[in-house]
C-alpha cells in the first residue's frame, strides 16, 4: 500500500506542473481569440461604450496580461471556469451536466475495445503467422483506417435507417416517463451504436498490441520451460504467454483516454449524445471560446486522473513497479 501511495505522491506533483502548463496554454488561446468576454456579453445583451469600459474594468480585463493570468488562475483554483454566453450559465455547471454521458460512453467503448481487442489479440497471437493471425492483423489495420464519424454514419445507415433496430441518436427517448431499469435499458439501447462506433476504432490498437506482445513472450525461456514440462498449448497460451503480454495494454488504457475523448467529439456529434464532445462542437458552432477552453481543461484533468488510476492499478498488478522507492 505504501508503495502505491509513494507513487501517487510523486505523480501528483508532476501532474500539477503539467496542469499548470495546460492552463497557461488555454490562457494564451483565450488571449489569441478575437474579442473578449465583454464583447461576447455586449453582443448578446447590448450596451454602450461606457458600459463596455465599466465591465472591462470590473472584470479586470483592462489590466496587464500577467495580472489577467493571475486572475484566471485564481478563478480556476476556486473551480470557476467563467460564464458561458451561449448557455447564460456558469461553464462549470454546463460541463458537469454533460460529463456523465461522456464518461458512460467512454467507459463502455473502452471496455469493448479492450475486452474484444485483447481477446482477439490472444486468438491471433496463439498461433503466430497462421492464417487467422494474418487475417486479423490486416482486418484490424483496415478497421484502424476507418474514420470514426464515417463508421458512425455507416452504422446509422445500416442499423437505424434500414433495419430500424436502434434509435438514430440521442441518449434516451424524450419524455418517455421511464424510470429505473426501464430507463437504463432505454439508455443502453441508445448507446449501442455510439459505443460500437467509438470502441471498434480503438479495438485494433489493443488487438495489435496484444498480438505483438505475445510474439515477444513466445521467444522467452520460461515459455520453452513450460513446453518442456509438457503443459498443454492452451495452458501455455493463456497462463504464460497472454498473461505476461497483457500488462502493457493496461498502460495503454491510460494513454488512449485522451484519444478517446477526442474521438467522442465526432461520435457524440453524429449521434446527438448530449456529452462533453457534443458540447465542444456546440461551443465551436456558437464561437463560445471560454466554454471550449473550459472543456479542454476538464478533459486534461480527466486524462490526468485516468492515468493516475491506471498507474496505481499497474503498481498492484506488477510488484516490480515502484519497489525501489518503497525500499528507499
Amino acid at each position: 500500500m505504501t508503495r502505491a501511495l509513494l507513487l501517487l505522491r510523486r505523480r501528483l506533483v508532476g501532474s500539477a506542473f503539467v496542469l499548470l502548463i495546460v492552463v497557461i496554454g488555454t490562457f494564451l488561446l483565450l488571449e489569441a481569440a478575437p474579442g473578449d468576454a465583454v464583447d461576447a456579453y455586449i453582443a448578446s445583451t447590448g450596451g454602450d461604450a461606457g458600459m463596455i469600459e465599466l465591465l472591462r474594468h470590473r472584470w479586470g480585463l483592462d489590466q496587464s496580461a500577467l495580472t489577467r493570468l493571475a486572475n484566471y488562475l485564481w478563478a480556476l483554483l476556486h473551480l470557476d471556469l467563467g460564464q458561458s454566453v451561449t448557455f447564460s450559465r456558469p461553464i462549470r455547471d454546463v460541463i458537469l451536466e454533460r460529463l456523465p454521458n461522456t464518461l458512460l460512453l467512454m467507459g463502455s467503448a473502452t471496455a469493448l475495445s479492450f475486452g474484444l481487442g485483447s481477446a482477439l489479440g490472444i486468438y491471433a497471437g496463439a498461433r503466430p503467422g497462421s492464417f487467422r493471425d494474418r487475417f486479423l492483423s490486416i482486418g484490424s489495420l483496415a478497421l484502424y483506417a476507418v474514420p470514426g464519424f464515417w463508421l458512425a454514419l455507416v452504422l446509422i445507415i445500416i442499423f437505424a435507417v434500414d433495419l430500424r433496430w436502434f434509435p438514430i441518436g440521442g441518449i434516451e427517448s424524450i419524455a418517455s416517463g421511464k424510470t429505473g431499469l426501464d430507463r437504463a435499458a432505454d439508455i443502453a439501447r441508445h448507446l449501442i451504436l455510439p459505443v460500437s462506433a467509438l470502441g471498434f476504432i480503438y479495438l485494433a490498437l489493443y488487438l495489435r498490441m496484444m498480438r505483438a506482445g505475445m510474439a515477444e513472450v513466445w521467444r522467452q525461456d520460461f515459455v520453452l520451460a513450460a513446453r518442456a514440462k509438457g503443459l498443454s498449448r492452451r495452458r501455455i497460451v493463456l497462463a504464460h504467454v497472454a498473461r505476461n503480454a497483457l500488462l502493457p495494454l493496461v498502460t495503454m488504457l491510460g494513454l488512449q483516454s485522451a484519444q478517446m475523448l477526442g474521438g467522442s467529439v465526432v461520435i457524440e456529434s453524429v449521434f446527438s449524445v448530449p456529452g462533453l464532445g457534443r458540447l465542444a462542437q456546440e461551443a465551436v458552432a456558437a464561437r463560445d471560446t471560454p466554454l471550449l477552453l473550459g472543456i479542454i481543461l476538464v478533459s486534461a484533468v480527466l486524462v490526468i486522473a485516468i492515468n493516475l488510476l491506471v498507474d496505481i492499478a499497474y503498481a498492484f498488478l506488477d510488484p516490480r513497479v515502484g519497489a525501489s522507492e518503497a525500499g528507499a
Binding site: L141, W150, I295
Partner: protein, 276 residues
C-alpha cells in the same frame, strides 16, 4: 536481395504502394480531367452513381459532380497529411534532440511541456486552434501538427540519450565543436531512423484528423475535402447514402494505403539493418 525487391515481395506493402500511387495520380490529374471549379453545378441534383457516364459517381444535393470533388479532395487530404506530418516530425525531432542532449532543467521543462500536449486530447486542441484562428489550409496543418509532435519528440529523446554517450560525440567535443552543432549535425541525423519510422502512423492520423475537422465544418472553406463531402451527404443520409459512403471509402483506402506502404518500408529497412 536489395530492399526494393524485398519490398515488392511483401504483398500488403505493394497493395499499399499501389493505392498511394493511384491517389497521387488522382490529385495530380484533378485539374486535367476536371478543370474549373469542382464546387460548380454540373448536372441535376442527387443523380445516383453509374447512371450518366459524364457524371459517373452521380451528383450531390446541389448538383455538383461527385467524381470531380473526389479527385480534387484527394489533393487536400495528401497535402494536409504530408505537411502536418512533416511539421510534427521536424518539431518533434528538434525538441527531442534538445531535451535529450541538453539534459537537466532544459530536459525537464521540455518534457513537461510534451506531457501537457499529450494530456490535452489532440483533436480538441486542433478544434480549438482552428476555431480561434479561423479555418485555412495552413491553420489546419498547424492545428494537426500541434497534437502530433509529441510522439516523435519522445522517440527522438530516447534515441539521443543513447547516442550522446558514444565515442564520436566525445570526439566532436574534443575537437571543440559547439554543443548545438554537435546536437544537430552529429546526434540528430543518427537519431532520425526510429523517428521517421513513425511517419506513416502520423500521416494516417493527420489525414483522419483533417477529415474529422472538415466533417465538423472546420476545413478550409475554399477547398473540397472528403470530410466536408461526408458532412454534406449526411443531410440526405436516408435518401442518398452513397454521397456519404463514397468519400468515406476513399478515406479508408487512403489511410490503409499509408499504413500498409509505411509498414512495408519499415520492415524492409529494419531487416536490412539487422542483416548488416
Amino acid at each position: 536481395m536489395n530492399p526494393l525487391r524485398r519490398f515488392l515481395r511483401a504483398r500488403e506493402a505493394v497493395a499499399g504502394a499501389i493505392i498511394l500511387v493511384a491517389l497521387f495520380a488522382m490529385a495530380l490529374t484533378a485539374s486535367l480531367f476536371f478543370p474549373g471549379d469542382p464546387q460548380a453545378i454540373a448536372g441535376p441534383a442527387l443523380l445516383p452513381p453509374f447512371q450518366d457516364w459524364s457524371l459517373p459517381l452521380g451528383t450531390d444535393r446541389l448538383g455538383r459532380d461527385v467524381m470531380a470533388e473526389l479527385f480534387h479532395g484527394a489533393g487536400t487530404s495528401l497535402v494536409v497529411g504530408l505537411a502536418a506530418a512533416a511539421a510534427a516530425l521536424a518539431v518533434g525531432a528538434i525538441v527531442g534532440t534538445l531535451a535529450g542532449f541538453a539534459g537537466g532543467l532544459v530536459d525537464e521543462v521540455l518534457m513537461r511541456i510534451t506531457d501537457a500536449f499529450q494530456t490535452v486530447p489532440s483533436f480538441l486542441l486542433a478544434l480549438a486552434f482552428v476555431s480561434i484562428v479561423g479555418p485555412s489550409l495552413g491553420v489546419v496543418v498547424t492545428a494537426i501538427a500541434l497534437g502530433a509532435w509529441t510522439g516523435p519528440a519522445r522517440v527522438a529523446r530516447a534515441e539521443v540519450l543513447s547516442i550522446r554517450e558514444r565515442d564520436f560525440v566525445a570526439g566532436a567535443r574534443v575537437i571543440g565543436m559547439h554543443p548545438l552543432e554537435i546536437a544537430f549535425r552529429e546526434v540528430l541525423p543518427n537519431a532520425l531512423p526510429p523517428v521517421l519510422a513513425l511517419s506513416s502512423v502520423i500521416v494516417a492520423a493527420a489525414i483522419l484528423t483533417e477529415a474529422a475537422l472538415s466533417f465538423l465544418g472546420l476545413g478550409d472553406p475554399n477547398r473540397v475535402t472528403w470530410g466536408g463531402m461526408i458532412a454534406e451527404g449526411r443531410a440526405v443520409l436516408r435518401t442518398a447514402p452513397f454521397l456519404s459512403i463514397i468519400p468515406g471509402v476513399a478515406l479508408v483506402l487512403t489511410v490503409l494505403g499509408v499504413y500498409l506502404a509505411g509498414e512495408g518500408v519499415v520492415e524492409t529497412t529494419a531487416v536490412r539493418r539487422s542483416l548488416s
